[in-house]
Amino acid sequence: MRDIYLLIRPRVLGFRNQLIRSESRKRPIILGCLGIVFCGGMFFLSSRVLLHFQSVQVIGDLLAHQLLSMILLSFFSLLIFSHIITALSNLYFSKDLELCHSTPVLLEEIFVSRVVHTFLDSSWMLILFGLPIFMAYAFVYRPGPYFYLLVLHMNLAMAIIAAGIGILVTMLLVYIFPGHRTRDLIILLTVMMAIALYMMFRFLRPERLVNPDAFFSVAQYLSALKMPQSPYLPTHWIAESLWASLTAVGGKGHSFEVMLTWTTAGAIMVINVWVAHGVYFMGYSKSREAKKRRLGGKKILDMFVRCVTRPLGDDLGAIVSKDIRTFFRDNSQWSQLLLLVALVVVYLYNFTVLPLDKSPVRLDFLQNELAFLNMGLAGFVLAAVCARFVFTAVSAEGEAYWIVRSSPLRIRRYLWAKYLLYLFPMLLLAEVLIIVTDYLLDVTCFMMILSSCTMFLMVFAIVALGIGCGAIYPNFRYQNIAQVSTGFGGVLYMIISSIFIGIVIVLEAGPVYIVFMSKMLGNTLTLLEWILIIVAFLGVLVINIVAIFKPMEMGLRALCEYE
């Protein structure tokens, strides 16, 4: 036990030292404020939804109950995936593992200390996302103090069970797969499983539950709502016990579920230690074996690289060629393209199931209004994609950045090469998103042209913001490139991009409203209205130009001063 504490201690001390010795006091304050705003927003939204459910007679409570089960099931699946990914790093690829394994500490103790690391790394999101939702339930249903205690310990138990499953799966996969490329294979498998679950969940159309018209009879609808989850799932036990404490006076029911949850949590940890005793070290040893190269697809890649780099100069071509090759050879990178495709498919699918015909608002007006709002939404989706791929473009050099820095290539050219590399795919993605959704909404020609042109312009700025912010906040010493975008710089980039998209939408809202009203009323535009329209569109143009050049300049300066 003492050794486990000793193995965890460096992490605790490191965290403490980072807090004490951090030069920038602003960063934790900004992140703290953002966290509070996010939790506040989640709490507000969840409360609104639950209050709306309560106003629905007969089925209101059933809906709230069903929602609780769905939330818990989503958290549980997310926690398992998150634990698989972090367990890979903490149990097999951390740099300090060699040191730990060379000490006379018991293997089981090393394993348990790594389980604690993995648990802490993966479970924090439950606090950020889950706590405001559970507090919203408490706000609406006013349960006794027992509910709060139950929320704390039952969620802890759920996280432990998810950790147990995730770590067990990781251990077995590393043990079964061949030594080299284990990490790539597991990441690929996990991403594919996540996509399959995401698509399955979306195509089940959970929104139908709040639309009784979609069912043939009330009885059918009620039975759909009452349909229980599998009674063997821990989330079912947790949902039932939480619901009992929310609705029953005194809230003392369902102690069997509580015991079942905690005994499962305990058992899965014991099983983990037992399995670790047999397979962990073998897996660890395999994961250290040198990777072997696979030559598949080299010719196609060479041809593609030659085509892309032909118009570029030697130096820019070298950077672009290196980035393309690295991207397609790194499974953890390109597999995220699959996630991206799933995101786009579901985004487009949502437009095909919009119940526009049931709206009390005039159809043509609603379609165009939705297309206008869609610009903002598509911009946000694009910013999220850029946060993962464009913002991380500079950091992706990793510790090999010294090569670029010591070469005669000017940093300005280097940054613009990165910009060009990502601009064209992002333009393609944005235009596909906006044109297809406009087509599905069957909008007017004016709206189609306006939204595709606005989107076209915004892509230039969103990509520049990504490269610029990535250069201002580079992280060349990451363990997993995907983590770079979740850091301070990535969050800041998302906020700035969202503000930028918001400003563009607000600037265009006035002219669009004027044009629609004049069409609906059959009026011609007055001179003042023309001036307003021109000024607004000029404003959009100016803000786009500023958003392209300013972040690139700031990024350039920061990267030149980087040490």
Binding site: R293, D314, D315, A318, S321, I403, S406, P408, R410
Partner: protein, 252 residues
């Protein structure tokens, strides 16, 4: 060929390199020695343009690194102590990448030069393998190939022998001497005193960010007032540290 004028680097109030002045002639192999944390790597990184000096000038081939950054870097080959490379490229692809950055063209002569260097460093069997499968020593040899690819006028090397087997280490020594003979200036930091003694024409010793001695082995021997090999000279000149070592030995 290399001129450092009042070169200074201050990190968060700590002076890592303090007003260094050096002038190194063309075709010299210059050894830069010093205890751990003396400022060797900081100096080298500033010379390679990876780190900005707090003050002072770095003149290479008559040009100021701060003003003619690209032109100076075009003439310098840099070999760092830790060979962090792009793991998902093959050896050949990496060398083509370097050739692109230094604008060496894409023709037959480049391919010939690359294969020549790979053969010289005994990497031709690994040329089409991903760098992630290379050992530390192989990565180090690949970085050396990259540094020599552009036929630089100055080579800046930080700890060249780390991770190399005796055969590769011998090869590196021969290559450095050969390059110097052809007129290339080599600025090399090392902990290995036998290497410095064997390869270097001139040596400087840095301690606490300042140059405390400079010259040929003979000059340093006279300055230190001791006979014997470079190790004795080094220990004498960095005496504070030696005193601690002797106290440790006598107490055990």
């Amino acid at each position: 060929m290399i001129k450092l004028i009042n070169l200074t680097k201050i990190y968060k109030g700590l002076c890592a390199v303090n007003r260094i002045n050096l002038e190194i002639k063309k075709g010299t192999v210059f050894g830069f020695l010093g205890p751990n944390g003396a400022g060797k790597t900081t100096t080298i990184k500033m010379m390679a343009g990876v780190l900005a000096p707090s003050s002072g000038q770095i003149i290479i081939d008559g040009m100021d690194l701060a003003k003619d950054t690209s032109a100076v870097k075009q003439r310098v080959g840099f070999i760092p102590d830790s060979p962090f490379l792009y793991e998902k490229l093959t050896g050949v692809e990496f060398l083509h990448f370097i050739a692109g950055l230094y604008r060496l063209g894409r023709g037959q002569s480049l391919r010939h030069r690359i294969s020549e260097l790979l053969e010289l460093f005994d990497l031709n069997n690994w040329a089409e393998e991903l760098i992630e499968g290379y050992s530390h020593g192989m990565k180090q040899r690949l970085v050396m190939c990259a540094a020599l690819l552009q036929e630089p006028k100055v080579i800046i090397v930080d700890e060249p022998m780390v991770g190399l087997d005796p055969r590769a280490a011998r090869l590196v020594k021969i290559i450095f001497r050969d390059q110097a003979h052809k007129g290339t200036t080599i600025f090399m930091s090392t902990h290995s005193l036998d290497v410095a003694e064997e390869v270097c024409d001139e040596i400087a010793i840095i301690q606490s960010g300042e140059i405390i001695a400079r010259g040929t082995s003979e000059v340093l021997r006279r300055q230190a007032g001791v006979d014997g090999n470079l190790e004795n000279i080094f220990l004498k000149l960095t005496e504070g540290k030696r005193g601690e070592d002797e106290r440790y030995l006598s107490s055990h």
